[in-house]
Amino acid sequence: MRVLVRVAVAGVAVAAPWIVAAIAPGQQRYIVHVLIFTALFAALALSYDLIVGHVGALSLAHPAFFGVGAYTAAIASTRGGWPFLADVAGAVALAGLVAALAGIPLFRLTEHAFAVGTLGFALVAWIVATNWVDVTRGPLCITGIPKPVTTLPAWYWLALTALGLVLLLYRGMTTFRLGRAMHAVRDNEPLAAAAGIDPLRYRMLAFVVGGALAGGVGALYAHYLSVFCPEEMTVALTVNMLVIVFLGGVGTLRGVLVGAVLFTALPEILRLAPTWRLVIYGLLLLVIVIRSPEGLSGLVRGRAR
């Protein structure tokens, strides 16, 4: 039964552009655009949940890795003339490398200090992106990033493929022995360490893989919009990630996917100015965090799964 549901969901996801074309032909371009964003944000949120939901490290550095990936792809393709797949691979590798280098000092910090340290790191990354004009063109943005595919449905399938790959990796990392070790580190660090599980190793692994995947999503994002600006990697992106992950349910695949769909669909339904949208997201996040202990306590106490 569960397998049937999964096949059905996957089938609907793959056939979405045709379904949209059949139901709302006049709105197809717009709806498919929203779907592409949904897929990209879902992939990014899964990469974030690997760190926040599975090893319990509340990192706020994700925009930095997203930005490193996006700028790598943007610069490699516009100035280096790299083909699409090569620059995406480069983006994944460089974002992973940056995550590894940042993780070495940051994981010396615990709890609050780790969160503040990662936030500071994200802020420094943003300051560098804004001011290193020779490389990033600063506030002028990198423009004319080539699009590997041109039609919207093709973009959708590309984003969906990326989401599928991230999803497989996410499943692979969070189940089996590896997943159990990560959850042990999240739920009870001293006990995990006593059982011979090195907490730092699993935290670093999740941090580097999460960062590398965020870089890959950043690269796709830059190619899709064909423009990338420093504003894309501010604290607002962290807030979006937190809303998606905590709205749906931290540390659960289904929760994060549901969160991503709600998050990208909600503003389209609400049709609000960005300022009001952030006010509502903030209030929503506040209420969820205070009123539904499910999401967060799962992160601390761990659920039997």
Binding site: L58, P105, R108, L109, E111, H112, A113, A115, V116, G117, L119, G120, F121, L123, V124, I127, V128, N131, V235, V239, L242, F246, T275, W276, L278, V279, Y281, G282, L283, L285, L286, V289, I290, P293, L296, S297, L299, V300
Partner: protein, 290 residues
């Protein structure tokens, strides 16, 4: 050359005073309530707008507008404790961090909606007159900031060490459970701490606003720098946070003028990360206490 260095040093001390007043509030909340208030920079922003409203819109004289701002922010501190902090105080630090971060996002964007993105200017008589001592030029307002900050730190020290409420705060910073056992109302002490921290932020805003502009997202960067100071100084240790704030302010002013202006905002974090690598408990870090 010397006059130039001195001028930057005074700029650094002014910046340091601002960071210190904000960081002292953060350190108090962290020390007493074991809670990081990510919305603290927004307290400063709200205090600045309250001051602007009293000074420019109501036309109050400068000191009175400052008192109004401080009073309004004390009320805000109490409201914030009653609505958000009361609910999250017994919860895990993840919940506290996300709830206060969410508050900061709500406040920043509400400020954009209410006041617009156009910066507000609040020049005073002191901020437009210059003291000139043999080529060393200094805006009078900066002297007022330094004097005001010193007076405030002295008052804060007296409050924490001499009053009943201050004793309760110190007791709670050492052992919250024991306080609750002997009948200290933990939520009430948290309320006093938040009102006091909000008052500090409003006082800082009143002192420095005439030198800088007021805009809705001024809080985020300030929260982070004040945190850098709190972490550098030793978690939740108020005097350490104040000392680290001056270190950051002076470094920022000197490095911003002699190394790179564009990257001046990054120095606070570079100092923080450097100090944490060398001394993870912070420069003056101890285990407990404010």
């Amino acid at each position: 050359m010397l006059a130039d260095v001195l001028e930057q040093l005074v700029h650094g001390l002014t910046l340091g005073s601002m960071y210190a007043m904000v960081a002292a509030g953060l350190a108090l909340m962290l020390g007493v309530a074991r809670l990081i208030n990510f919305a603290h920079g927004e307290f400063f922003m709200l205090g600045a707008y309250a001051f602007w409203y009293g000074y420019r819109e109501l036309g109050l004289p400068y000191p009175l507008a400052g008192v109004l701002a401080v009073a309004l922010m004390v009320v805000w501190g109490v409201v914030y404790q009653r609505t958000v902090i009361r609910a999250i105080l017994p919860r895990s630090w993840h919940v506290q961090l996300i709830a206060t971060l969410a508050t900061s996002i709500v406040l920043t964007n509400l400020a954009i909606i209410v006041f617009g993105t156009q910066p507000k200017e609040v020049p005073t008589a002191l901020s437009s007159t210059i003291l000139d001592v043999g080529g060393f030029r200094l805006v009078w307002q900066r002297l007022l900031v330094l004097a005001g900050a010193l007076a405030i730190f002295w008052g804060l020290h007296r409050f924490v060490s001499r009053t009943r409420a201050g004793r309760a705060m110190r007791a709670m910073s050492q052992n919250r459970e024991a306080c609750a056992v002997v009948g200290v109302d933990v939520q009430h002490v948290a309320m006093i701490t938040f009102a006091l921290s909000a008052a500090l932020a409003a006082a800082a805003a009143t002192l420095v606003s005439p030198l800088f502009n007021i805009f809705p997202d001024m809080g985020t960067g300030l929260t982070l720098k004040a945190f850098a100071a709190v972490v550098t100084g030793g978690f939740g240790y108020v005097n350490g946070a104040i000392a680290a704030s001056f270190l950051i302010g002076i470094t920022e002013a000197l490095a911003g003028s002699y190394l790179s202006y564009a990257y001046k905002d990054a120095f606070a974090f570079i100092i923080m990360i450097g100090v944490l690598l060398w001394r993870p408990q912070g420069l003056f870090g101890r285990r407990l206490g404010i």
